[in-house]
Symmetry: C2
Subunit: 222 residues, 2 copies
């Protein structure tokens, strides 16, 4: 470790960090968020959103969010979107910390994530449960806002596909949408409302205990 060095400014500066709501789907295609257990003093032991401070003069907040995502969870190349800024002077007891919040969409399977990560304990928690956990700082508010932003974005773009595995059936996609919206969708209407340009058929079928379901892939051309 290097000797501590001081950084001085002619007027006060706040600390600036990114907080990440990393979303994925579990085996049943329910919406989950990645929470870490805090290992440091304010809110020690509490579940919290991953995140970290910006590298001043080196990176933008988008880059900071992407870096933190990789450092803390191992995920790279995830979909990232900024959705909120939290700036109350007393939201962090240590100093005035302004937090810019992003949500990230990842597919759960691609490697075992959260392994080899900074945060010793990172866990996927169903979003509706996470909101009732005793999250550190104002992270419960941030998470609620993230879910709202995700819903809004889902209504007008195919980002849900960022959460899906490479291959999936329409029933699975259906469950994913229901999990995000938090309500049931008529299967027939769901199929029709779905923009077929977003998907391509693989030609394969998933054989189960009933009629086999067509297997789809996300359209590589957006």
């Amino acid at each position: 470790m290097l000797r501590s060095q001081m950084y001085t400014y002619s007027y006060p500066h706040p600390a600036v960090a990114t907080d990440l709501c990393v979303f994925s789907l579990d085996e049943e295609f329910r919406l989950c968020v990645l929470l870490i257990k805090r290992g440091l003093k304010p809110y020690l032991g509490h579940p919290a959103l991953p995140g970290g401070f910006i590298k001043v003069d080196e990176e933008s907040l988008e880059q900071c969010a992407a870096r933190e995502l990789e450092e803390e969870t191992g995920f790279t190349k995830a979909y990232l979107q900024q959705f909120g800024v939290y700036s109350s002077p007393d939201r962090d007891p240590r100093e005035h910390v302004i937090s810019v919040a992003y949500f990230a969409l990842v597919e759960r399977d691609s490697e075992t994530p959260t392994a080899g990560s900074d945060a010793s304990h990172a866990d996927w928690v169903e979003v509706s449960k996470a909101l009732h956990d005793d999250l550190a700082f104002d992270h419960a508010t941030i998470l609620a806002d993230a879910r709202a932003a995700l819903i809004r974005e889902t209504e007008q773009s195919p980002i849900v596909l960022q959460l899906m595995p490479d291959e999936f059936t329409l029933s699975q996609l259906h469950k994913a949408y229901e999990g995000i919206y938090g309500r049931e969708l008529e299967p027939a209407n769901f199929r029709r409302s779905l923009n077929k340009d977003w998907l391509v058929e693989t030609g394969e079928y998933q054989r189960g205990h009933q009629r086999p379901a067509k297997i789809f892939r996300a359209n590589p051309n957006l």
Copy 2:
């Protein structure tokens, strides 16, 4: 002036500011934005968005935006909405400045604004013209984003009323919507699409050179 004092931190902090896109309507109900002429060195003399640095440990960004609005333009009690964050390390040549952008909606008439204000030269410029001015920093990008955010918000809430004078006709409101959307709207359909709960009739009529128009007021209960 007090002696200069230094503020020190154990790791680098960025500067954090708010930038304001203050929108209003001109006599013809065209959308205008308030621009100041920079009196300081980077981009000296260029038109720019009003704004300023956050008071650390004292205020949130919302409060900072409201304060800057009042200090630089004299407007108080305006509608304020956050819509973007700009954080590229080199967007300001002096140091790494993270800017959180708000748009404000004001009615042009309520007192002469921009008088008694910090900024010696503040002027209303039609938005489409302002976008082609040589704005300081990345303010052209910010302004374009603000217009997009305003359109999105206009589509789903009655914020346009924040721009209107106390009393107005449907034709005037019609023009305001056309100015914001940047396209013409069928008068008949505009009337129908308008949520009548947002308005109350005054019972008065504006007499002009043709059929008199009903005069409305924004519904005080939202």
